[in-house]
């Protein structure tokens, strides 16, 4: 132990304020120690104690499965640490690869490039000079030796707090002093200290004054909000909100609260309250929708649970609900509605048409969702109706806002039979896509017809070997081929 160090320790241990400073480990000192340790580390580098466990180390403690230390560090050397420990200073023959054995120069910088024999470490550790040279800037400045004092400037106070020392803030009495202290803390960027100062201000300042000052100190404000959120002081948080001069994200944090409310009725009430808060126009409309959706879901849920329990409705008997519809996203709700309430008139809340209208769901999204729901039920007529439009002369026409190739994919995912599938494959406009899909899903008729229309004899002949021998498809190909020959 060096003399300076011993003095230091004695000093700190005899300090009358030791009881509430518990600060023998304050930053500079600990960093000094740390660097000294590094200097001293020869011993440890030599007897690296991980190495005696060539086997995997297993936990002796019980339920530590999640802790993952058991995997041995990869190490190729085979230092035997135990015997090395005491004699390592003299030995100098460790197998630590980065440190060559031969003794050479004293260059300090090379130390960290692994060029110096580790014996240097030991020697340096023993001399105070070594330590000073080693990391002098981590030594504590003279000022720090001063005893606990009552007239620290705000700056000193903040610096002390950054080192984890407890300081009394009570002597900052005037508003002016308090604000200087806060600004000093903010300038230090240490959230720990900023929060501590804020707690002090919160305790000693009137709310209106605190809020007023924080309004022009956004960083401090963020810290206070974070603190209030963590400690669950909703009331103060709401007070801040009501004043209404804070950024949007803060108001959203109020909206966020709804996630912590389990009871749906209360959640609905809470959302209703949110609508009144000063959000941006866009967010307000989303929040309004959120509220309306939950309101609907509560009605639908009550109704459907009743229906399901009564066992009268066939659809619920055949496809029992997997979960409640409460708190589901809009598209999921629409799917649910298309699944269980497809035929209902637009007037009922649970009908797909009503949802579409209320939430201004775009055609594309509506068709996709309805298609998926009806295909899942294998209601092919409904699927057909989705894409059938009548013009004013009464002619029917097939139209899909999402493109028929997407329709085919969705149908295919729901295991639609080939007959259904090929009807839509046929409607795919792009010839190449049509051929690809038709080939992929084995819609032979479509493939054959497309090749026929393309007058592609070669492909047609090639395709013949892909259909079953003696099947209707083969016959069809043959007849086309013969036709062409005859013409």
């Amino acid at each position: 132990m060096s003399r300076a160090r011993a003095d230091e320790e004695e000093y700190w241990h005899s300090s009358k304020f030791r009881a509430f400073t518990f600060d023998d480990e304050d930053d500079e000192l600990s960093q000094l120690k740390e660097s000294k340790r590094a200097v001293n580390s020869l011993r440890d580098i030599v007897d690296d104690d991980d190495d005696d466990d060539l086997e995997r180390v297993s936990w002796s403690g019980e339920p530590v499965g999640s802790i993952s230390w058991s995997i041995k560090e990869t190490s190729s050397s085979s230092t035997s640490s135990l015997e090395g420990r005491d004699s390592s200073l003299q030995k100098g023959s460790s197998s630590y690869a980065a440190f060559p054995k031969q003794v050479s120069s004293y260059s300090l910088s090379s130390l960290f490039k692994g060029e110096v024999p580790h014996t240097q470490y030991g020697q340096m550790a023993l001399s105070d000079v070594g330590v000073k040279n080693y990391a002098p800037e981590l030594r504590r400045p003279k000022a720090e030796y001063k005893d606990y004092s009552n007239d620290w400037s705000p700056k000193d106070t903040v610096r002390r707090m950054q080192r984890g020392k407890v300081c009394s803030l009570e002597r900052f009495r005037s508003l002016q002093d308090k604000l200087v202290l806060l600004d000093e803390a903010v300038a230090g960027h240490d959230g720990n200290v900023i929060t501590a100062v804020l707690i002090f201000l919160k305790r000693t300042l009137r709310r209106e004054i605190l809020f007023r000052e924080l309004e022009v100190r956004q960083v401090a404000l963020c810290h206070l909000i974070h603190f209030l959120k963590e400690t669950g002081e909703q009331k103060l948080l709401l007070d801040l909100l009501r004043l209404g001069f804070f950024s949007l994200s803060l108001q959203l944090s109020q909206y966020r609260e709804h996630l912590n409310i389990q009871d749906v009725e209360k959640r609905r009430e809470f959302l209703k309250g949110c609508i009144g808060l000063p959000f941006s126009a866009e967010d307000t409309s989303h929040m309004q929708d959120h509220y309306t959706l939950l309101e609907r879901q509560i009605i639908i849920e009550a109704n459907d649970r009743h229906l399901e329990m009564a066992g009268q409705s066939e659809i619920f008997r055949k496809y029992p609900r997997k979960a409640s519809i409460l708190n589901m996203p809009l598209v999921t709700t629409l799917f649910y509605s298309c699944f269980y309430h497809y035929t209902e008139a637009e007037g009922t809340f649970s009908s797909p048409a009503n949802l579409k209208k209320t939430f201004k769901i775009p055609d594309k999204q509506y068709v996709l969702t309805a298609l998926a729901a009806r295909a899942k039920l294998r209601a092919w007529d409904d699927v057909d109706a989705l894409f059938t439009t009548k013009n004013w002369l009464g002619y029917t026409k097939k139209k899909a806002p999402i493109g028929f190739h997407r329709v085919v994919e969705i149908l295919q995912r729901n295991n639609a039979p080939v007959q259904v599938l090929q009807e839509y494959v046929r409607l795919v406009e792009d010839v190449e896509t049509r051929l690809n899909l038709a080939t992929k899903y084995k819609c032979h008729d479509v493939v054959i017809e497309t090749y026929r229309d393309l007058k592609d004899r070669i492909q047609l002949i090639a395709y013949k070997c892909k259909v079953e021998r003696g099947s209707a498809e083969e016959e069809k190909i043959n007849s086309i081929l013969n036709n062409v020959v005859r013409n």
Binding site: S110, G191, L259
Partner: protein, 603 residues
């Protein structure tokens, strides 16, 4: 031991050693047998500093994970809590302590070790709960920069980006500055500091102030680092959003690397014993856990390659190893046999390493050859090269309709927004609407966070700067060589990470050449010099490379690390890089850290 830490230009073992020493000292303060109760998040980072054997030597007999309720039975005098300073953890500790004090007769000594710092707030909280007095030692363990590899340091501070950019909480920057001071104490004052971005400016200011607060002292260690480059993550929001295409990057994208470990599906790693029929035995169900660092020779060689170049290396290695094993047939004399046998352990290690990486490469290939991976990558590359960034993208719409994972959608939408200097209001509204209607209204919160971080925004200026930035910094290279790269753009198969381009241009020819573009990127750029006493000025040997420490504030991806390593290895590069960061990230973990934590849906 940690030989891989000393393999680089800067020997990082010293840093690790300092950490171990501090840990030992703390443990010895609590005399007698002890049990450690772990904040689970800390076990990973601590594993890089010390193993269980170190703790065992200092009388740590039991270890538990921190959870509410009664502490498990343990016949020890001391109970030590290793925790991050978080209030919710303080509640758990309070619960533990109160139950313990009410219950058993032999009184325990409680201690608490805060990592990385003691928190007044937490202690106040414990005081309010009436348990603060129960703790004998309350200390801090400043685990600021943890050595991950010979050229890589991380603070593993998960929420640093979110705190800095969303919550205006710069505590993590304060820790970064502290970590840099420790580094300077060990490796000498860094004479030159460059930086770009608000956070970089803050960190540089704090470093300079911390130095000033110790007047009259001079660090007399020869500086190991010539230059420090501080980069804000928000200077380059684009890079992490793109899918990394290096081997290590893909492992991280697909399986997630945590504190150098990866967990993989076990099927491919089932040990096949001789004479056993395949599939006859039950497959292992536990995920296979592997450590990935440069201590493994093969991994060090392939980790930074483009994945398309990994296969050929692996097959070449396979041939070499089987040839080496064939040697045994030629060993005739006793001497030859002896020599062969002495090489066996090394050969066997090489063989098992090869087997592991072949399996991992197979797993990755299954994914990279899938249709969806290809479609996703195509869209990413279109955006990055500036194609169709100003309209609603069909693929993204399809993905939403099929309810692909939300994070995937957000990554793509944000990428499009960044590559277009913001989206047209109509396009942005469309995406937002589709997302909240499909995934739930509560995601307004997440979208709002992304907007605040600048990842998603309306195009305000009406001007798209990205093409200028792309062209000036040559971010998109059409003729990319994945096998034998000649430019950093190989790590994303065409896209050269902006952050690394900035580092490259700083080294040569200097930032003065790109002033215009630097002005388009957010935050100030600056240069500072730290005075060195005469005699410590480095006299560089002819041909000796400079060493630059690049510190990514807000996270760095493995692909960016690979690109910097590529620059280190360039023959006429002249600069070697050491990388430090607040957290190792990829697009998914990054976006996740910005999302509001929402209750999982019931189905």
């Amino acid at each position: 031991m940690a030989a891989h830490l000393s393999s680089g230009r800067v020997n990082l073992t010293a840093l690790r050693e300092a950490g171990r020493r501090e840990l030992r000292e703390f443990l010895d303060k609590c005399a007698g047998p002890k049990a450690i109760v772990w904040d689970e998040y800390l076990t990973g980072p601590f594993g890089l500093i010390a193993q269980y054997s170190l703790l065992k030597e200092h009388e740590v007999e039991k270890m538990f994970t921190l959870k509410p309720g009664r502490l498990p039975q343990a016949d020890v005098k001391n109970i030590i809590f290793f925790v991050r300073p978080k209030l919710e953890l303080m509640d758990i500790i309070t619960d533990n302590v109160l139950r313990e004090e009410r219950g058993r007769s032999p009184q325990r000594d409680f201690h608490i070790l805060f990592v990385p710092r003691r928190s007044l707030l937490c202690e106040q909280w414990l005081k309010e709960q009436g348990v603060l007095g129960s703790f004998i030692h309350r200390e801090q363990y400043s685990l600021d920069l943890i050595p991950f590899d010979g050229d890589l340091l991380s603070m593993e501070s998960e929420s640093a980006f979110k705190e800095c950019y969303l919550e205006s909480d710069q505590t993590s920057l304060y820790h970064a500055a502290k970590g840099l001071m420790t580094l300077q104490a060990l490796y000498g004052t860094i004479p030159q500091i460059f930086g770009k971005g608000e956070c970089a400016r803050h960190v540089a200011n704090m470093m300079i102030r911390m130095k000033r607060e110790f007047p009259g002292s001079q660090n007399s260690i020869f500086p190991v680092f010539d230059t420090l480059l501080l980069l804000d993550r928000n200077v380059d929001l684009l890079t992490p959003l793109a899918t990394q295409l290096t081997y290590e990057g893909l492992i991280d994208e697909i399986y997630g690397i945590q504190n150098t470990y990866v967990k993989l599906p076990p099927e491919k790693f089932a040990p096949k014993k001789q004479g056993e029929k395949e599939g006859g035995k039950d497959l292992p169900t536990e995920p296979k856990k592997l450590q990935l660092n440069s201590a493994e020779e093969l991994y060090a060689e392939i980790r930074d390659k483009n994945f398309n170049a990994v296969g050929s290396v692996l097959s070449k290695k396979a041939k070499i190893i089987s040839a080496a094993f064939e040697e045994r047939h030629h060993a005739k004399t006793v001497g030859e046999i002896k020599q062969f046998v002495s090489q066996l352990p090394h050969m066997q290690a090489a063989r098992s390493s090869l087997a592991n990486h072949t399996s991992i490469a197979e797993l990755i290939k299954d994914i990279t050859t899938s249709e969806d991976f290809f479609d996703n990558l195509t869209v990413e590359q279109e955006f990055m090269s500036g194609i169709d960034t100003d309209k609603v993208n069909n693929y993204i719409e399809d993905c939403i309709a099929q309810k692909h994972p939300l994070i995937k959608i957000l990554r793509l939408v944000c990428l499009q927004s960044v590559c277009n200097s913001g989206l047209k209001q109509k396009v942005l509204d469309h995406y937002k609407r589709e997302i909240i209607q499909t995934y739930g209204y509560e995601h307004i919160l997440t979208l709002n966070n992304l907007e605040k971080a600048g990842l998603l925004k309306p195009q305000t200026s009406g001007r798209n700067n990205y093409p200028t930035i792309r062209k000036t910094l040559r971010l998109w290279m059409d003729d990319v060589n994945e096998q034998n790269p000649n430019d950093i753009s190989y790590v994303y198969s065409g896209y050269a990470p902006l952050s690394v381009r900035l580092a490259q241009l700083l080294a040569r020819p200097g930032w003065r050449s790109i002033e215009e573009v630097l002005k388009m990127l957010p935050g100030p750029h600056f240069e500072e010099r730290q005075q060195l006493p005469t005699g410590l000025q480095k006299k560089r040997q002819h041909g000796e490379n400079r060493v630059t420490l690049v510190f990514f504030l807000g996270g760095v991806t493995y692909a960016e690390i690979a690109a910097l390593r590529f620059l280190s290895q360039m023959e006429d590069g002249g600069t070697e890089y050491v990388i430090a960061t607040t957290k190792l990230i990829n697009g998914t973990t990054w976006i996740k850290s910005l999302m509001e934590k929402l209750e999982p849906a019931p189905f």
